[in-house]
Amino acid sequence: MTPAVSFTKVSRHFGSVRAVDAVDLDIVEGEFFAMLGPSGSGKTTCLRLIAGFEQPTSGRIEIFGENAVGVPPYRRNVNTVFQDYALFPHLNVADNVAYGLMVKGVGREERSRAADEALALVKLPGYGARKPGQLSGGQRQRVALARALVNKPRVLLLDEPLGALDLKLREQMQEELKSLQKQLGITFVFVTHDQGEALSMADRVAVFNDGRIMQIGSPQEIYRRPATRFVADFVGSSNILPPDFMQRYAGQRRWGSLRPEHIRILAQTAGDGVPARVAALNYLGAGTRVSLDAEGLRLHAVVDSGGALPSPGDDVVLTFNRDHVHVMDEPA
């Protein structure tokens, strides 16, 4: 099947800065694809390359098998939900939503019907007459979504759309976006720096760093089997185990990673396991994160807050199941 979006050795350089560096990428039609990475990692530039706001320095971009290099944004059947929504302040909500249809020459009546329908889809029926300035952040977000969806795009691009919302609203919007994507079957490409958001919403995740893709895979794969130290660290703050440590406690001289929830802390000063000293406790709610100094490393374990907790300064022993240690591809 033709991929919805396909990058072949795509680079985008700004002077000497390689914002995107030889990226290969295939986004499957109908999937919810997340681009995850820290700021400046090239994920937003990739999104802008798909939208057409940027042109690649080199490489080939195809959208549903058709060449997109040199094609202006207004000739791409791709729509964007901007990070700060970019609603037109001089138009009311209905005119904002119908903007794409207006510039395509769709008649007034059909436009207003489509705008009403799109507003109902994002649960803002009857808001058409208001100005964007009269809406809350969450409502503007929904209008931006309706404005993009009303054009029936083949690919919907979302640039950190939930970044400006508070936690509760963000969780609600995550669920709604997910169900909306299922309902419409449109390919969603979602840019975020929040790994929790990427893991919970996406069918597949691409982890970006320094303009390159570190790993592409399902959330489970990314979380359980990070390919590199960067991925292990960025996605869910794994403990990174250097080759020396791995050789002593896991039996092979490679880089490894170990999830905080897979470390057990034994309240004893000697025994089978890694001797460690408790440095600090952070209460997280259901769990408590324990920071530990062991073998010159700073390790983190998450333990049940309801159980017996160690105190800072305690000498303890750490154990873990060797099967939980993931050996990374990265050379030692």
Binding site: Y74, D84, A86, P89
Partner: protein, 321 residues
């Protein structure tokens, strides 16, 4: 405990007042924010209210008096006779000529200013931005009379413009233009075209600057959003950039329009001998001693501006404010 922490514990929680009259005044003004506004606004309101609005009002009052045709003295009885004189054919000519010129100058300067303002607002950075401001403001630093006389030389028959046209073998174009009725004449410096060009030059900064300020406030992502939604550049200009820049365009047009309507020096030095409103005002209040008619003439630009703003508001020019 570190030295910083120890010092922090001994610092006072409430600081002593600054002391003196100014210290006490600062505290008092801070506690009475309304009084702060009163203190701040009283001088300018007195200036605007009495000296500025007051004299304007006195001027308007004059326009309701009339001059006694035999004695040449001002008859201080309320009458609309002076306004009636405005509708004499020769005076209507002056009004129409001035308003038409002001409108043409405004439209032309909006068209010329837009690309410059757009470049400055969207593309110019750092030293190019400084060069823009310098380039736009520099003409304002030299005397207005110097510039107008310079233009007289540029536009004269022996002037540089004629010379350039000759060098380019395009003299026939210039001659054809000068042969046209109304806009033409013996040379550019004694034609309406010359008057128009000089007005355009002299008031241009007053159009560019507000336009640039308005365009600067149009967020770049709105232009991207418009393109993303399928609008070609022309549609983006019409539907997003122009409506959002409109308050700036209107502000600039108020300047160019009213400055052109009130000016009496440029049409006197460059152009035909036919009068503009400013010249009429100058003539009536001076040699003719007909202050009421001069006052009535000054009311014309005010009324025209009022209608213009009312119309602009009705067309939604200020919706983006």
């Amino acid at each position: 405990m570190s030295a910083l922490a120890a010092d922090t514990r001994h610092a006072p929680a409430i600081l002593a007042g600054r002391g003196g009259v100014f210290g006490a005044m600062s505290d008092w003004v801070w506690r009475h924010p309304t009084m702060f506004l009163v203190l701040m606004l009283t001088p300018p309101v007195l200036w605007l209210g009495i000296i500025y609005i007051g004299s304007l009002f006195a001027l308007l009052l004059q326009s309701f008096f009339a001059i006694d045709e035999f004695s040449g003295l001002i008859n201080r009885d309320f009458t609309l006779k002076t306004y009636g004189e405005l509708f004499l054919p020769q005076n209507v000519d002056i009004v129409v000529r001035t308003v038409l010129m002001a409108a043409l100058v405004t439209v032309a300067s909006a068209i010329v200013a837009f690309p410059i303002a757009y470049y400055a607002a969207r593309y110019a950075k750092g030293k190019w931005k400084a060069a823009f401001y310098l380039g736009v403001m520099l003409p304002l630093w030299s005397s207005y009379l110097v510039k107008v006389y310079a233009w007289k030389l540029i536009l004269a028959k022996e002037g540089i413009l004629n010379w350039i046209f000759a060098k380019l073998h395009l003299t026939f174009v210039l001659d054809a233009w000068l042969a046209l009725p109304i806009v033409g004449g013996n040379s550019l410096s004694v034609s309406y075209t010359g008057t128009f060009l000089v007005f355009l030059y002299v008031w241009m900064p007053f159009m560019i600057l507000p336009m640039q300020a308005a365009l600067e406030r149009v967020p770049g992502n709105l232009i991207e959003a418009s393109a993303d939604l399928g609008a070609a550049p022309r549609q983006t200009f019409r539907n997003v950039i122009l409506p959002l820049a409109m308050p700036g365009v209107i502000a600039g047009s108020i300047f160019t329009f009213s400055l052109t309507m009130g000016d009496y020096i440029i049409p006197q030095i460059i152009g035909t001998s036919r009068l503009f409103i400013g010249q009429a005002v100058y003539a009536h209040q001076g040699t003719a001693g007909n202050i009421p008619l001069a006052a009535a003439f000054t009311v014309v630009p005010i009324v025209v501006m009022g209608f213009y703003l009312w119309f602009a508001k009705r067309q939604g020019a200020f919706d983006a404010l």
